[in-house]
């Protein structure tokens, strides 16, 4: 159980305090309830580009990084399909510096042309580094478009195409800021060597006079249930054939999410997992195979991906995956196997919780989902999954009509 306190400023900013006196540091984590799912389909990649611009100077502070580094602090940020998160860690004595910097950029950015121009280029290089200049780099563009027809998860956080980023204007930037960056859409978590009273005072001082803004009214279209299998074939200059299969799974807060998470462990979690043992070690059809999902808030994708051993036929490899899934759907799993994946999950959570930064980040995420105290009930939710759940959900998820398959062939 982790302890925290929560209060809300009069402008709507939610503040969570997580005291931990074992560290000399303090963490200030601000999560904005905006991600790539909130983007205009014609202007994708914007939430992430905007995250870069948050470092380009705010209304009263020309440069974000220098004063923070002067205070001995470090920071970073990330954007996902669901949210944007900014976090600072610095010596606890200097915590006010983080309040000063973060409150000023919540109040208003400097909106500099130069910053936009540079960050457009930087993000384009990021796009190239991760998605163009890499073998198999385009896979997730294709898979998302195949699996989602209406939900905005159909594009990646980096954006659908370079041109969307290249065409971003300062007017877009201002409109985005006005819609999403305000106390009504933000959650602040302060952790480490801090006291609640001190945080309350600092929060009132630095964030109290920021206009509350409007809560973003999210109308994310729900993805209609898939009714037929989808397939696509790609031929590319890659050395090995690869196969990707994705299946729609339940949203983050549902029981089915926890079952899906354990299913990924059963199939693809490490050396004793089913797909690895059967298809890599025994049948030698794949050189590697994985099963995972992205932990998204809305309904995500249970994914199986593998690279084929040179010479193995795609049909044979795919049939072998299907056979494993059929086995799971037919026979389910034993109590022992279920205990194994629960133990792994328990352990993974304990290691993750070691860092105060991760704890703050997770508190913000659960608050964004509806309630920070969900942090403490997550473990129980995994432990409540039964062997029957695994059987029933496997049957539902691994239905051929719920599947999208990408066969990625080597041209070399």
């Amino acid at each position: 159980m982790i302890q925290f306190e929560k209060f809300t400023l009069s402008n709507g900013l939610r503040v969570i305090v997580h005291e931990d006196n074992t560290t000399p540091m303090a963490v200030v984590n601000i999560m904005y309830d905006v991600g790539a799912r909130d983007e205009n389909p014609e202007k994708t990649g914007f939430a992430h580009l905007f995250e870069h611009l948050m470092f380009g100077g705010s209304i009263n502070i020309e440069d974000y990084e220098t004063p923070l580094q002067m205070a001995g602090g470090e920071n970073n940020a990330y954007t996902s399909n669901d949210l944007t998160n900014y976090y600072v860690q610095l010596p606890a004595e200097n915590i006010e510096t983080a309040f000063w910097l973060e409150s000023d950029r919540m109040l208003s950015l400097a909106f500099s042309e130069k910053s936009l121009e540079v960050q457009r280029k930087v993000v384009c290089e990021e796009f190239k580094e991760h998605y163009i200049n890499k073998p198999y780099g385009d896979v997730w563009f294709k898979l998302r478009e195949m699996a989602y027809k209406v939900h905005p998860y159909r594009w990646l956080t980096i954006g659908k195409e370079l041109s969307h980023i290249e065409n971003a204007t300062l007017a877009d930037v201002k409109a985005f800021f006005a819609a999403h960056y305000n106390p009504s859409n933000a959650i602040m978590v302060v952790g480490g060597r801090v006291k609640t009273a001190q945080v309350r005072e600092l929060a009132e001082k630095w964030f109290g006079d920021i206009p509350s803004g409007k809560k973003w009214d999210r109308h994310t279209p729900e993805e209609p249930a898939q009714t037929a299998p989808r397939r696509e074939v790609v031929h590319a200059d890659v050395p090995l054939d690869a196969i990707y299969k994705v299946y729609h799974m339940d949203q983050r807060l549902s029981h089915g999410y926890y079952v899906a998470d354990l299913i990924t462990e059963i199939l693809g979690g490490g050396g004793s997992s089913r797909l690895f043992q059967t298809l890599v070690k025994e049948k030698k059809l794949f050189s590697n195979i994985d099963c995972y999902h992205f932990g998204t808030v809305d309904k995500g994708l249970l994914t199986i991906e593998g690279k084929l051993v040179k010479g193995v036929k795609m049909e044979e490899a795919e049939a072998a995956i299907e056979e494993e899934l059929e086995k799971l759907k037919r026979d389910g799993i034993s109590e022992k196997e279920l205990t194994k994946v629960k133990n792994k999950t328990e352990s993974a959570i304990a290691f993750e919780d070691m860092s105060v930064m991760t704890r703050c980040n997770n508190l913000a995420f659960y608050e964004l989902l509806g309630d920070a105290s969900l942090f403490n009930s997550d473990r129980e939710k995994y432990f409540s999954v039964t062997v029957d759940d695994v059987l029933n959900y496997s049957r539902r998820y691994f239905d051929v009509n719920n599947s999208s398959t990408l066969c990625y062939y080597s041209k070399l």
Binding site: P24, G72, P91, V118, E125, V238, G271, M354
Partner: protein
Amino acid sequence: MPNRTIAPPIKDAVDFELVLPRCDHHVLSNGVEVYSLNMGSEDTLQINWVFYAGAWYEKKKSLAAATNFLLKNGTSGRTAFEINEHFDYYGAYVNRSCYTETSEVTLHCLNKHVHALIPVIAEMFTDATFPEEELAIYKQNSLQRLKVNLQKSEFVAGRLIDSYLFGDKHPYGKYNNAEDYEALTREDLVGFYEEYYKKGRMVIFAAGKLPPDMIGELEKYFGSLPVRKHRETVEGIQHMIEPATQKKYRIMNDPNGVQAAIRLLRPFPNRHHPDFQKAQVLNNVLGGFFGSRLMGNIREDKGYTYGIYSYLLNFVHESGWMITTEAGRDVAEDTIKEIYNELELLREEEVDEEELMMTRNFIIGTVLGDLDGPFQVIGRWKNMILSGVDEAYFYQSLQVVRSITAKELQELANKYLQPDDFYELVVI
């Protein structure tokens, strides 16, 4: 309403007192040393078994890495699957990693399970069988991975730049080709295992919330093995550095590539050299963090790259000073020009007081933040012990950060940041 144009007062990070939590030190009956750190609030722990079994000792390329990887793939009593299942059942993670000097096995687990796990780790060090079939799968999968990696410009660049500085026969400069994997035999692995694991030199690092009988358990399973203490020297293994004579390289790996992997590297002495700790400070100014000169110019001003960094290589015998980035293909040559401009600026002008203060504070702040987790702290101890330096070295390095002057930095820049000393590589 607060005055937002004025920064709140800060305590300079250089004024913080930093204390490296002490390690307990034990010696097992066979002389093997154990460094342990009982610290942390979660019920987690980490144990690290380090062997002097890195690439430095192999007679065939990729042998050390293959032996290290396959430690976990079968003993006379258990198949690879059974070993994996055992660790997985207890939610434990067993990682193997092979470096140039050392190779390691690391266990991460909940402390309530550690007693069930240590005996199987011990089996890996006394009774690994290296089944032919496991080796065959390893070779095939390594070859496949290599093929994919060779399509990546940054992978190709990373291999080549080290080979220019150290020569492609030296452990710091050599890299594996397909034929190296193909040439591995089971006998090679068994021989390497006998010499460098079963009768090798070992040292153990344990950290986290340790059970009270931790040392007793380690004594029970490792204290009577015929391994030797890690401080014992091994005769006769020396490697000649053969630096390339050509300094500049342009390589076309993928004609359709949209980015260029850029690497600059110059030789640098190891951490015992008096300039090493000072150079760490200069390196931070140059490219060690987000507020560095290279990042400020090449990313934040020009937008040529998503990131650019510099660092000193973490090798024991020799080091090197590296600058690395992935930049747009059409701006690759401009990027290199700007890098040299930044080196020149550091040679020509003293770093101003504010920038130097920021760099000092940032380094100290980072170290402070790094000292609050048991795994980070033991990591520092491990790095110091394996490099043959002690606690005094840690405090001395902080002293250097606090006291180095702009003039000293400029002198260092003139000594080391000379363009002609750098190997320069662009891979598209």
